[in-house]
Point group: D2
Chain length 122, copies 4
């Protein structure tokens, strides 16, 4: 499990090197990256198109499906990491701040009491 030890910074650096070595920086404008993220996410969504929601265990046991999911997730992540590079976004800090915000917005006790899971249900 690499996740245990690898900081996002290292992933970002590797993507940055990959882009720079190919002189692709000029293509990775934030607008283009947002477009590319949207395209890749749709390919992730396509994996689940028309399907009833299978239980998670059976998804995890289906190597073909899992490989496709990992493929598309990593495509999405490549562009998110590149976008963070382009705009000097500290991804970890940004995520932690958001987490802080929704922890207040979706107060734990209120959610458990009301069973809410959507903005319009709180």
């Amino acid at each position: 499990m690499v996740d245990d030890i690898m900081p996002i910074k290292e992933l970002k650096d590797r993507i940055r090197d990959f882009i720079n070595e190919r002189n692709w920086n000029k293509y990775h404008h934030p607008k283009e990256l947002a477009i590319s993220i949207a395209i890749e996410v749709a390919e992730l969504l396509e994996i689940f198109q028309w399907d009833e929601k299978k239980d998670i265990k059976s998804i995890k046991n289906d190597k073909e499906i899992m490989d496709r999911i990992k493929e598309e997730i990593s495509d999405v992540m490549m562009y998110i990491l590149s976008l963070s590079n382009q705009l000097d976004i500290d991804l970890s800090r940004t995520i932690l701040m958001k987490l802080d915000e929704i922890q207040r917005k979706y107060d734990k006790d209120t959610v458990l009491k009301t069973g809410a899971y959507r903005k319009d249900k709180l």
Copy 2:
């Protein structure tokens, strides 16, 4: 800069706790998460709707735009991290494997020589 030190594992754990504490695990089915990622990515894309591509420096200097971009990127990331939790995906390893693959696919020297930047141009 938190990015320098925080491993993805820690971000995933925090998201997992947030979801579990609210008993929201039942909603975070991979299909629903893929839908939610698609919705949030479109909100990221909306920031650039109709705009000519501004130079990156002027985007970075526009605090309002940067705040919106960070907001949407973190929404996308929350769902990606939750999806990785649900399916026990080692995000770092997956991204590194993908990087390996495209490093071979888009050979550095060929790319520099041909100026290719798309699958159909290699």
Copy 3:
């Protein structure tokens, strides 16, 4: 029921006039329109986010939901009609040709016999 009598051509003409009168033609580049369609479709998808699939009758009886669906469908259609205007695409002919193609691809009898509903199941 206006649907019974209004040809697509008339809808396209009205959109064209709307755009021209505002001098917005320069913004309606096919790439920008594709972006805008993607953004609006995500808003359509958002209506169904997190929900179990309700039976269609109860959706139709929910005026608030139906109004939101109509709102987003018409946003999507405005941009599709404008894209067809920009590129001189005969939308009806294009749809009919596609219908012809999939009628051959998804042969009626094969589908009924196998219960197939996806490319990979035929």
Copy 4:
């Protein structure tokens, strides 16, 4: 030009027959159709990925590009027409009502005077 004469109603009826003959009605739940529209729109967007905005004339002269655009537009339209069938939405009426609304919202003279083209610029 089929657009000149064909009412949306007829297109909707042909899609309905196609779906019914294959017993696919059960798959065409509004939520699934919204997912499918999102997937197909991303394929439309992919045609323009990474590209500078070419002038419209050169796009129209590129038969390969035009064929791909028509292909993806008709995929999107098939699902929109099916969604309209499922929910008894009068597409023409809905579009005309929307057009009425935005004609008031984006007042012609104000737009021409201010050069506005986005909600936040009016």
